[in-house]
């Protein structure tokens, strides 16, 4: 029998990645779509590298939007930025505990809080579990953000709000997802390798990781 190997493929997409962002984008093929839903229910964190620029404020928080205001930024130091990041982490930590729907008065809640395993397992607003400043060279800076249930526009808005807290303004120049649950940049296929063979290899490589993670979280 001759003909193309696959006639129709059912492809599903994992967590959204908008037009201006880049990075790891998970797709499921055929039976993998069921695994996609299961992975979504695991509520694992995603890691982004976000680049920002001080001195400008735009209407859509990115550097391609319409200019709203320009400000000075020479009073900003790395310590100031790290202090704001510590507070952001703190308030989001509180949100993490509150949206996880566990009764704070139980011993079980205390045990989970000690291990750091409290996580919202249902719908919740975007929560940032960790932020770190990777590079700082005025006017540019780069952050590594670990988050849950977020959208890329929320991350850009966060960069804008960091600028406001530091009594200046900031726009987001780059949003790049470096990790989506168990899939990292190392597992991702670059454009040059978008062919059947590489896709099959990648699926096989990730199979074990996905299975262990699903078993650990969903039991």
């Amino acid at each position: 029998v001759r003909g193309p190997r696959f006639r129709k493929l059912k492809i599903g997409a994992g967590h959204r990645l908008d037009v201006k962002a880049s990075g790891v984008f998970v797709l499921g093929i055929g039976h993998g779509n069921k695994l996609l839903t299961d992975l979504h229910n695991c509520h694992l964190t995603k890691v982004y590298t976000v680049g920002g620029l001080f001195g400008k404020a735009t209407d859509d928080f990115s550097d391609t939007g319409n200019l709203v205001e320009k400000t000075t930024f020479d009073h900003i130091t790395r310590e100031n930025l790290e202090r704001i990041l510590a507070v952001i982490q703190g308030t989001n930590q509180k949100a993490l505990l509150m949206y996880s729907n566990i009764d704070m008065k139980t011993q079980e809640a205390y045990e989970l809080a000690v291990k750091g395993l409290i996580r919202p397992m249902g719908k919740s607003p975007p929560i940032i579990t960790a932020v770190r400043c990777l590079q700082f060279a005025l006017p540019e800076f780069q952050l590594e953000i670990h988050c849950l249930h977020e959208t890329q526009q929320y991350l850009r808005k966060m960069v804008h709000e960091i600028g406001l807290e530091l009594k200046s303004s900031a726009v987001c120049t780059q949003v790049r997802r470096t990790r989506d649950g168990v899939f990292t940049v190392g597992d991702a296929l670059p454009r040059t390798r978008w062919n059947l063979r590489s896709i099959q290899e990648a699926i096989q490589n990730c199979q074990l990781k996905v299975e262990t993670e699903l078993e650990r979280t969903l039991g």
Partner: protein
Amino acid sequence: RDGGGLRGAMAGPARRLLLRRGLGAAAGPPSTRQLREAEEAAPVFQYAGKAAKRKDRVFVWGFSYSGALGVPSFVRPDAGWKKPRRIQPTPYRLETEEKISSAACGYGFTLLASNTRDITKVWGMGLNKDSQLGFQRSRRDQTKGYEYVLEPSPIPLPLEKPQQTRVLQVSCGRAHSLVLTDSEGVFTMGNNSYGQCGRKVVEDEIYSESHLIHQLKEFDSRVVQVVCGQDHSLFRTKKGTVYACGWGADGQTGLGHYNITSVPTKLCGDIAGVNIIQVSSYGDCCLAVSDEGDVFGWGNSEYLQLASVTETTQVNVPRHLPFKIGKVKEAACGGTGNAVLTEEGNVFVWGYGILGKGPNLTESAVPEMIPPSLFGCSDFSPDIRVARVRCGLSQFAAVTNRGELFVWGKNLRGCLGTGRMEDQYFPWRVTVPGEVMDVACGVDHMVSMVRSFT
């Protein structure tokens, strides 16, 4: 609007008018070059200059009806339709005239002190039924004083050199307060029925609307720390000795008897000859830390605070507590529970009540460590350490080196500041808009000194 069509339809003079108005210019979205030029021509705003300093602020929260929070509009609203606010559940900024360097919360009142050289150095607010805030002259009747002070009011200290002396620290107990200065000793005011103000007990003395502020100067060296228990006072001198006066029925004066003492007397027992670097008390139990990191305790032990060395419930001589938890840096004594901070930055708790390790741990005679992960220490940020630990009557507060405030314990009338009214069984972050420098805990309210971010 179709510019071409309009031009075609109009008569000659109208067309020239349109051209002159510039409507004939290129229609459509501005090009990249025009955008860039517009951007470069835009004005630059400056919100903070290069030498912008971080501002020091005071935040208060808890029960407000006694006036202890210092916000009059909570008790007496300024508009007719507004309702009085009985409890302030989250941190609220208090405007102060000067930078506050030391604060203390008593039982329904607060003292704020600044180490300035100006004439007004100490402000008080809250309950004043025993003149624990000095004499606050009423504006309506010049012969009477206020029983409740609703906003921070200056306390007139009888200083010899008011423009040179600085106030170092303040402390508040149930109905008395102590003010420590750098060169004029300690000033005490308030209730003296047990001699806690360091002067002889006068029978049937009326404490309300009293002008009397007593000065204490006779110690072996300069006093560097003052601490108020519920009805007793402790003084720590530069040489490392501890003096006490006040009520002693639980042995909290540590002088070997259970009577009241009206003159500050030196403590002996296990701390004789030991250089004490910190003392703490709030209820009827007292803790002291030596320079070598040892902990000594005396006073009430009904809640297992000193059960590690003795079965008696009242200990009237300082005893060494042989804990093997490392070198202790700071101790904090609450009503029924105690906490210590070690050099490594770990917090240990023991006693009775909500200790901070979940609802199952309600009492312990030996210190239990609170896991550092509850204070934010994780693989991502491994160098977070607790820098300060403080105790109120039934709650604890810890400040980390990153300036974050964690509280736990009984949430009496919203004093934890978490925004909820439930008790908190493990350390919980309080959202404060700034870096927390220090916090003072009372029975049902708390005051914190915060520095803004930029």
